[in-house]
Structure formats: C-alpha cells, structure tokens
C-alpha cells in the first residue's frame, strides 16, 4: 500500500493519538512524512507512567504482533531509518525477549529501549532527551519533534496503543475501539470497547457500575479530571483510565496528597511554577487548615504558566475535585 493510501485510511478511520493528547494520527504522520530530511525516526512509546493506567502493558502482553506490525507500517510510511520501542523498565524486562523474537523473524530495524525515568518520559520531548541520554526534562517547542526530534531529525512519536490500532485499520479490522483501564469497581481490568460509548455505558457493560454513591477520575490516575455520576454521559478521554471512588469512603485531602506525592516525585524541576508550585502544594496539604485561596492560586499558576503539558495538566484533578466534591467542608 502506498504511503498516501495508508495515511488516507488512518484519516478515514478517524484515529486519534492514545498517548493522552488526542492529536489526529494521520495529520501527525503527514507532518513527518512531508519534512525533507536525510534521516527520520520513529518512536513507539510504551512508557506507561501514570497510576491506574494499564493499557500499554495489555498490548505488549496480548497484541505484540499487531504492535510490531503497526510500527512497521509507520516506519515504511514515513521512511524512518530506525524505530525505537521505548519501554518502561519492568515491561522491558518482561517482554523484551518475546518482542525481539518477532522483530528478528521479520528482520525489522526496530530497537527496544529501556526507559530511564518516570512519568515525565511519556512526554514526547522528554522521551527524546531520554533516548539521547540527557537530563530528563522537556524541550522547548517549537521545534516540534515532527520537525526536529531525535538527534535533531524529524521524528514520529506514537503511543503503542495508537500503533496497535494502525495495524488493525490497515487490516480492515477496526471499528473505532479504544482501551479502557478500569479500577475501583467490581471488575477491574483493561477492556477494549468502542470509543463512542459514554462512560456510563462502559461502566455498565463491564459490570463496574457501582451500587454506591461515587465519583470517577477519567483519563489518568493522577492528571485525570474528576467527574460526578451525572457527568458520565460523555465519552472517555486521555489515556482512557476510569477510576471509581466511593463518595463516603474517600477523603479528598488524602486523595490530593496521593496525587501530590506522585507529582513531587515525577516533577523535573525545570520551571518555577511547577517546581515551586508542587512543593508548596505539598506543604499546604500537610497543614491542618490549609489556606484554600493559596491552593487555588497555585493551581491557577500551574495551569497557565508551566513550561510543559505535565505541569499544565496537573491542575485539572485538583481543581475539579475542589470544585465538584469540595475538600475541607467535609468532616471526614
């Protein structure tokens, strides 16, 4: 199949990136394909770093052939000299052998690379820095990786789920599915269902609709937005995680502390709003009666001034939790 046709097909299928940003896949490919350069690279991102998201592993475990095929298709379409399959440390250990076998049989120029850092390495430019062996921090944009990525060459970066669905699309075997990582309900696990379903339908179909009062976090287990039961008519988003929290057993402050511990650990330290903001949030949350005004100010600053998507997205769970569930007016 010609590259144009491949891209056309993906476009028609309406596939969007499954790494969180939901950027149209065909457009991204077209951008890299268009750039004139001696060398181009492809990176398949399997670095799954956010809590409560399990779908990258699900693919590595159950669909390695489709994944490798998706990588091959992408590589041929954009004419990448090499492809890197970037894996979280434990995934690397568990699936390297199996994947290498497939790669060898098909004689493909794919290199499996062990991830260096944490969550932040899921961010595209940090991932590139990591592959180049530098300090794990995001780069300035522009230039975007599609113009100047790995070793300054145009680079296509796709999540492993995206590439898995690419192979399904090319093999005429895609009906608009996506992966949902569900936790906190009766039947936790990874489910493959239509991306058009509402969250409510997903929970019901998978037997996860609770019989108690609850709210959910959707997207990822740290950066995802909080939604109330009545807001579940919308579709899934971001990384496709749905986490169920029982309303009367969840202490919002403890929940926020959990998030902040995660963000503190993953924060790179580059920009002042995020580095200082997260530090102060943690400080505030450990106080008995934290000043809510300051917390709101910090979240506002994080969202509007942070350097990278990581810092910008961090405000969302906190803001939505405070707004919808409230934090300090509960006597739990």
């Amino acid at each position: 199949m010609s590259p144009e046709k491949v891209i056309q097909k993906i476009k028609k299928a309406g596939l969007k990136g499954r790494g969180g940003a939901e950027f149209p896949t065909a457009l991204k490919w077209e951008m890299v394909r268009k750039v004139k350069a001696e060398k181009k690279y492809l990176i398949a991102n399997g670095s799954e770093g956010e809590p409560k998201v399990f779908k990258d592993e699900f693919i590595l475990k159950t669909h390695p052939f489709e994944l490798i095929e998706g990588i091959k298709i992408a590589q041929e379409t954009i004419k990448a000299a090499k492809a890197y399959l970037y894996l979280r440390k434990d995934f690397f250990q568990k699936y390297k052998k199996k994947l290498e076998k497939i790669i060898k049989e098909k004689n493909l120029p794919i290199i499996i690379f062990k991830k260096q850092g944490g969550y932040l390495c899921g961010e595209e430019t940090t991932l590139v820095e990591s592959l180049e062996g530098r300090r794990l921090e995001p780069r300035s944009r522009p230039p975007y990786p599609s113009e100047k990525g790995l070793w300054d060459c145009p680079t296509l970066i796709n999540n492993v789920e995206t590439l898995y669905y690419v192979s399904r699309i090319i093999n005429n075997n895609y009906q608009g599915e996506r992966l949902y990582s569900i936790s906190g309900g009766d039947h936790p696990g990874v489910y493959e269902l239509s991306a058009d379903l509402s969250l409510k339908q997903v929970l019901k179909k998978t037997g996860n609709w609770p019989n108690f009062k609850f709210f959910v976090q959707v997207g990822g287990g740290a950066s995802g937005e909080i939604l109330l039961t009545r807001e579940l008519n919308q579709t899934g988003s971001g990384l496709g995680a749905i986490i169920i929290y029982p309303e009367d057993k969840t202490n919002p402050v403890s929940l926020m502390k959990k998030w902040i511990d995660f963000f503190i650990q993953e924060n790179c330290g580059k920009c002042s709003p995020c580095r200082e903001g997260v530090y102060r949030l943690k400080e505030l949350l450990s106080q008995k009666n934290p000043d809510q005004e300051i917390i709101k100010d910090l979240l506002f600053l994080l969202e509007k001034s942070s350097f990278c998507p990581f810092g910008k997205a961090m405000a969302q769970p906190f803001s939505s939790l405070i707004k919808k569930v409230g934090i300090f007016n509960k006597n739990k």
Binding site: R280, E283, S305, K312
Partner: protein
C-alpha cells in the same frame, strides 16, 4: 527574509524583523517585560516563566523570550491575568531565595526586589525554603551562596561555555540544586562569569562586602592603590553614568578622598609586561620549538592551563601580570626612592576581576618575602566603598595619578580589551626588531568580539602567526589543534572573559555584548588620545629600566614567575554562621 513588518504590542504598532523574539522587539522599544532567566549571552531556557505574554488568537500564554514575532502579531504584555500570574510566580521564586540585600552584588538594582514591588507579590505567604542550603568558597576568589539560588541555570551554562563545567545541576524537582563538581578532573578557574550572569546574586567575590574597608584600616601603613585599565570605562555604570564614560580622573580623586596616600595606574604595569613579553617573544622566535608563546596575564587562563593542560605550561610567558609587576616595583623601586620600609606598604589593586583575588595568593610571586599586592578590590568593590563613604563622583574634581608610577602609554590602556595584550606587544616587538622608535600602531585585526581571531603580521620580513582567544570556552579547541600542529600559531593571547577584562567577573552587572563593546570602545578612544601609545616610548619605562632594572637579574626577579601543575583541593563549604 530581512525585510521588516509590523506587529502590535499593547495596541501600538512597532516595526519588527523576522528572527526577532517578542522580548527583543519590546526591549528595543522600551516596553517593559520582566525577565529573570533570560540573558542575551545565553540560550533561551524558558524556565522562570515570568515573561509570559498574551498573543491574540493563541490559547495559551507564551514566553516572550522564546517566541519569534510574525507579521500581524498582536501582543499584550500586561493583562490582569498576566499580572496575577507574575505576582504568584514571584511569590514562589522569592521564597526560594534567601535575602541578603545589604550584601548583594545587585545592590540597588535587584530585579527580584523591583518585580516583587511592581507586582505586589506577597512574599509572606510562604516561608523561605532554602535556608539550610550550603555556602561554598571557591579558593580565595568566589563565594557561592546556594541559599540564594532561584534555579535559573545561567551559571551552569556559562561555566560550561567557559569550557570548565565546574558547576553542575544535581537532583530533580524541588530538590534540584546547582553544586560545584566533585569530579577531581574539574575545577573552577575563578573567572567569575557565573557571578555576573546570576540574576539572584548567589555569587560574590570573596570579601566583596564585609571586607571592602580592609584597605582603609591599615594602621601605620602607607596604603597605595593601583587600578586596572578596564576599571576606568565601566565604574561609571555603578553610578548611572552613560556607558563607556571614562572616569580616570574622578576615580583617582575618589580614592584619594578616602585618605589613600598614592594612586598609581596598572596601565603602567601593563607597559612593563609588554616590554618583557616582547623581549621573550623575540628570543623565542629564534627557536621555533619554543613557540607558540602564550600570554599569561589572565590568572583564570593560567589556572586553566595548570589544571587542564599542564603540558602547555612551558609555553606560557613567564612574565608577570601588570598589577603584580607594578606592585613589586612599588615595594622595591618606589620604596627605595621614597625611603620607606616595604613592609610598611599596603598595595591594593582595583581590578575588573575576581581571579586576581586568587592570583595574589600565589606564593611564587613574593618579592623578598612580601606579596607584591596585598589586597584586590573589584570594580564593584570600589563602587561599594565609594557608596559607603559617600563619595560623589558627579561632583568630585578629577585628579591625575601620582608620579612616577602613574604615567602610562596608550598600549597600557587597551590591555583591558580582548586583543589588547597582543596589540601592545606587537607595537613594541615591531619597533624593537626594526630598531626604530615608531612603527605601526593599530592592529585592528586583533580587536573585536569574535571568539577566535587570527592574523598574519609581517615583522622584519618574517610573518608571525598570531591568534587571540576571546573567552576561555574557545581555548580547548585551539589547544587540541596545537597538540597536533604546534606551528599553528607563533603568539597566542587568551583572556578568560568574553571581551577580555572589560567583561571580567569583577565588573558591574548586568553585562551583555553591547555593554562590553561600549566599555572596549571607551578604552580604544583613550588610547587614541594618548601622545605616547607604545610601551617602549613611555618615559617612566625608560627611566625605571635605566635606573633600577638595569641588570637582567633584577628585571627577571621582579618581572617574571613560573607555573606548576595544579590539582583539585576539596570543596570548601563554609560553616553556617560564618557567612
């Protein structure tokens, strides 16, 4: 692509060019946008986020230091949202910085403080989180107070650009820290570039504040000041004079008003250095194996060779640096003349440099057991002293430097700019070889701010391959090339600081290419105005050589030194409270 177009900033139209950033256009038109991590000498890092602006049509706010202008762009620099974000951000930045305003190199020009006032940041909302961070001392040159650091990383980059990489970034998140390297193969060379590029005043020269009065507290001693070439066209910046204003006479008068006995001029010391270096060059030209001859008046460069490239030590000229020669002469020639016991003399050098604070501690420089120079004040230190004693440079009547060690040639002045040492030496070498008094004066090819300057100079039929390295960061490449091909140069000048000493670590801050250019222009203008522009024609030089340095041994003892391989000493962390 060089054509210009219009953009709008705060609803007003401005001309802009492709490749300019929003910040550059704004600054050119005197529109204020606050910046902290931005420095025109360095890469754009976008990490302080204080320069955010709103671009019409864009969802997110953008950092003006990084975004390039486009035709038709409409920018707002001060919306209520931006103001609020700056206020909040400043509250965070300020509370990761320990204030020491009375003892800070930024003194009255602190951007941090100005901005917190301007945006009404409430710095009491958080407590200072860096109180317990350590203070380091880099030999006798610099203090690095990591309690003040706001994590902008300018110093790390600048130290890397210097080819040293002594400052490293460690840790992650809020635990990130700039620390001196523990690697035994990396050591500071004391250039002080970190100091003049730090927006938070984390670095300062040793004793720059607490001890500025030391020179004035020498009971029973004759205190002699001498000041370096580069100080005269930059001191004014500390007091609001326009860039490059030469203040030689006022500077001398100011020092005298403090009760100092004599004020001499290091430019004369430079004339001595030129004389000796020209002689050494002429001797070595006879034996090509001993070339290239490398200048040694920059102590940071000398330390760099002694630590990183000891194999090149034999190529460094053995001639002492200008203020060391003059200090030695003050304690010998002048002391004899005035019948003063040299032990009763206290020599203070006012230098654009922090490495000179280290240089004067080198034991091999002692003359009859005495240090030629007892104390080094930076340009900033002198300004601090003037402020403390309310010396008003606007009002003070200029004075001339004292006789006889105040008289210098024009060549002695340009020592302060990159290429100046080379040019001075060439003026005199040519004359010495051609045995005539006057030869070519201006060697424009060695001037200017390029990193490496090369030229061929014809002297007595031979052509001399000369090179000038402007900024230590360019030295490595040249040294590596020299290892393979020693014939690359016959004579090489290296100055550690960009622009030479006018861009030195002891100079007023801020610094930028434009500022360094102006300071250098000031020096070249002073040179042009001098009737005597070469070292060998300077009557004081002639007199001292005739009366005092007549035998070679004395000349050698007072004007030459030697070097040795240096190893890293342990890191010096100052105990809390001592600082």
């Amino acid at each position: 692509m060089l054509q210009s177009f219009y953009i709008k900033i705060n609803k007003k139209r401005f001309k802009a060019r492709f490749s300019e950033t929003i910040l550059e256009v704004a600054q050119r038109n005197n529109i204020f946008i606050p910046t902290l991590c931005y420095h025109s000498d360095l890469k754009v890092k976008e990490n302080c986020r204080i320069c955010l602006v709103k671009i019409k049509g864009e969802k997110e706010l953008k950092t003006s230091c990084s975004v390039k202008v486009k035709p038709g762009m409409e920018i707002f620099t001060d919306t209520p949202e931006i103001k609020k974000l700056r206020k909040l951000n400043l509250e965070l930045i300020f509370t990761q910085h320990s204030q020491e305003c009375h003892d800070c190199v930024w003194f009255s020009r602190c951007q941090l403080l100005d901005l917190t006032k301007k945006y009404q940041a409430d710095t009491s909302r958080f407590s200072n989180r860096k109180e317990k961070r350590p203070v380091y001392k880099f030999d006798s040159a610099l203090i690095y107070d990591s309690k003040k650091c706001i994590d902008c990383r300018n110093c790390v980059e600048v130290c890397q650009n210097q080819g040293v990489g002594f400052l490293e970034l460690k840790g992650q998140g809020a635990d990130i820290r700039v620390v001196p390297s523990e690697d035994k193969n990396k050591d500071c060379v004391y250039c002080g570039q970190c100091l003049i590029h730090c927006p938070a005043g984390s670095f300062e020269g040793v004793g720059e504040f607490e001890e500025v009065e030391t020179p004035l507290k020498q009971k029973g001693k004759k205190v002699i000041f001498q000041f370096a070439p580069a100080v005269r066209t930059s001191l004014g910046e500390e007091f609001g004079f326009p860039l490059r204003t030469p203040l030689t006479g006022k500077l001398i008068a100011g020092i005298k008003s403090l009760g100092v006995d004599k004020v001499f001029d290091v430019s004369l010391g430079a004339d001595f250095t030129t004389m000796e270096e020209a002689k050494e060059l002429i001797t070595k030209l006879e034996d090509k194996r001993k070339l290239p001859l490398m200048t040694s008046c920059c102590p940071a460069w000398v330390k760099y060779i002694e630590f990183y490239y000891p194999e090149f030590i034999p190529y460094l000229t053995s001639v002492r640096s200008p203020h060391i020669i003059l200090g030695g002469l003050i304690k010998t020639y002048w002391a004899q003349r005035e019948k003063i016991n040299p032990q009763d003399i206290f020599v203070v050098s006012v230098m654009p440099c922090v490495a000179k604070k280290y240089e004067i501690t080198r034991p091999e420089l002692k003359i009859k057991g005495l240090k030629p120079v007892d104390y080094v004040l930076t340009t900033r230190g002198l300004a601090q002293l003037f402020r403390k004693y309310k010396v008003d440079l606007n009002k003070i009547k200029p004075l001339q430097a004292d006789h006889p060690l105040g008289y210098h040639s024009g060549a002695g002045i340009i020592y302060g700019a990159t290429g100046g040492v080379m040019e001075s030496a060439l003026r005199t070498t040519q004359a010495m070889l051609n045995e005539k008094e006057i030869s070519k004066i201006e060697f424009k090819k060695v001037r200017g701010m390029k990193g490496v300057k090369r030229a061929l100079v014809k002297i007595k039929g031979k052509s001399l391959k000369i090179g000038v390295v402007n900024g230590l960061g360019f030295a490595k490449e040249i040294l590596e090339k020299l290892k393979e091909n020693p014939d690359l140069f016959d004579y090489l000048e290296v100055m550690a600081c960009p622009g030479g000493c006018i861009g030195g670590g002891g100079q007023p801050i801020p610094t930028s290419k434009k500022i360094r250019n102006k300071r250098a222009q000031g020096l070249y203008q002073l040179d042009k105005k001098r009737t005597i522009r070469t070292a060998h024609q300077n009557p004081v030089i002639k007199e001292v050589y005739r009366d005092f340095l007549k035998n070679k041994k004395t000349a050698h003892y007072l004007c030459h030194t030697h070097y040795s391989r240096k190893f890293k000493k342990g890191l010096n962390i100052l105990p809390p409270g001592q600082y």
